[in-house]
């Protein structure tokens, strides 16, 4: 007859003011770094923020944040632990350091399960780090989270944008709000991406630089927030409620 978990998802998210999927058609463009930095920046500005890593087969936000040995609390569901001022949820609490080879149907089921049992309570922002592409997780988030808004990440590369463009076109066609597009790993002056985005009537938020210091800052939140990348993201971030 039906999956009872789906009926509770809206209830679980009702205390969350804005739900923001950080997404891209392409992998390796910096989604997880931008999602983590965005969440940390908003939390430091005094907002109540959650970070949900939905990249089940390749989670990485725990590495960016330097999270180890934490477990959610059980209380009529699961309560995400607080990490650097964020309520933080990731499948790594359960999969540990091991590979999780999941097919699409399994990704959907795990996603529904975590949306149905995680108690975020009151948040200004829930930042969702999406897996790359426009397959199961993206389609499920659109299907199950009615108030979802997207921030789309691309790089200056035409190769990345060729795929990102398809995500943007799909979201536009479905009437899903795109808050803005960030051009990450900018190395030289070019207005190609900005023109492409604005030509589609979508807000171009700006660019973040290719930052050679960033790798050193992975796992250290204070170092991360001190990088040029984070400073630039903080300047262009327009998520002020």
């Amino acid at each position: 007859m039906g999956d009872p978990r789906i009926g509770i998802i809206e209830e679980r998210l009702k205390g969350v003011n804005r739900i923001v999927a950080v997404s891209s058609g392409k992998g390796g463009v910096g989604k997880s770094l931008i999602a983590s930095t965005l969440a940390l920046t908003l939390a430091r500005r005094g907002y109540k923020v959650g970070l949900f890593d939905l990249d089940f087969t390749s989670p990485s936000t725990h590495v960016i944040l330097g999270v180890e040995g934490l477990q959610p609390r059980e209380e009529k569901g699961i309560i995400p632990p607080q990490v650097y001022g964020l309520k933080y949820m990731s499948i790594v609490y359960y999969s540990g350091e091991y590979a999780s080879p999941l097919r699409g149907v399994d990704v959907s089921n795990a996603l529904i399960e975590l949306l149905a049992i995680t108690r975020w309570n009151n948040l200004d922002f829930l930042i969702v780090d999406m897996p790359p592409g426009i397959s199961d997780a993206t389609l499920d988030v659109i299907r199950l989270v009615k108030r979802i808004e997207f921030v789309v990440i691309t790089t200056p590369s035409r190769l990345a944008f060729e795929t990102v463009r398809k995500l943007i076109d799909l979201l536009s066609e479905l009437g899903i709000p795109i808050m803005g597009v960030v051009e990450n790993m900018k190395m030289k002056e070019s207005r190609f991406i900005q023109q492409q985005i604005e030509g589609r009537g979508i807000k171009f938020w700006g660019d973040t630089p290719f930052d050679a210091e960033l790798e050193e800052a992975i796992g250290d939140v204070n170092k991360l927030l001190a990088t040029q990348f984070s400073k630039k993201l903080g300047e262009i971030e327009k998520l002020k409620a």
Partner: protein, 132 residues
């Protein structure tokens, strides 16, 4: 206590179904519970009894457990999941997110983690009956 979250999901979804179908009172709800998720039935039943609203006052919850049948996509071997064969930590991880089975369980014949959960994953609403 994850059972409470699932019980809440059942009550919420059955209420939505009752609303849609114009049921004034819910008489019987049949729920299937897959063994892979290792749901504690006592806790689930208790949570359901505590969470039910007025529409559920005379409800009968019929809960059936379903064995977890797994089938390897590589060698087609089929087997039944047994909790006794895994350690407590893994059992708990699978309890919260049954798909974590793909992280820790391999096909006993060929060792592949690429298996299908044919039956008995988690909680499922089989039927809702009531009075209009």
């Amino acid at each position: 206590m994850h059972e409470w979250a699932l019980a809440e999901a059942v009550i919420s979804t059955v209420s939505q179904i009752a609303e849609k179908e114009g049921l004034k009172e819910i008489a019987e709800v049949e729920i299937k519970v897959g063994e892979l998720q290792q749901i504690e039935l006592d806790i689930l039943e208790f949570a359901l009894s505590q969470l039910k609203t007025l529409k559920f006052k005379n409800v009968k919850f019929r809960i059936k457990t379903v064995k977890a049948e797994l089938k390897c996509r590589v060698c087609t071997h089929e087997w039944i999941f047994r909790k006794e064969k895994i350690n407590e930590e893994v059992a708990e991880a699978i309890h919260f997110v049954p798909e974590i089975a793909h992280t820790y369980i391999k096909c006993p014949k060929c060792g592949s983690p690429d298996f299908e959960i044919l039956k008995g994953r988690g909680i499922w609403l089989e039927s809702v009956r009531g009075l209009k």
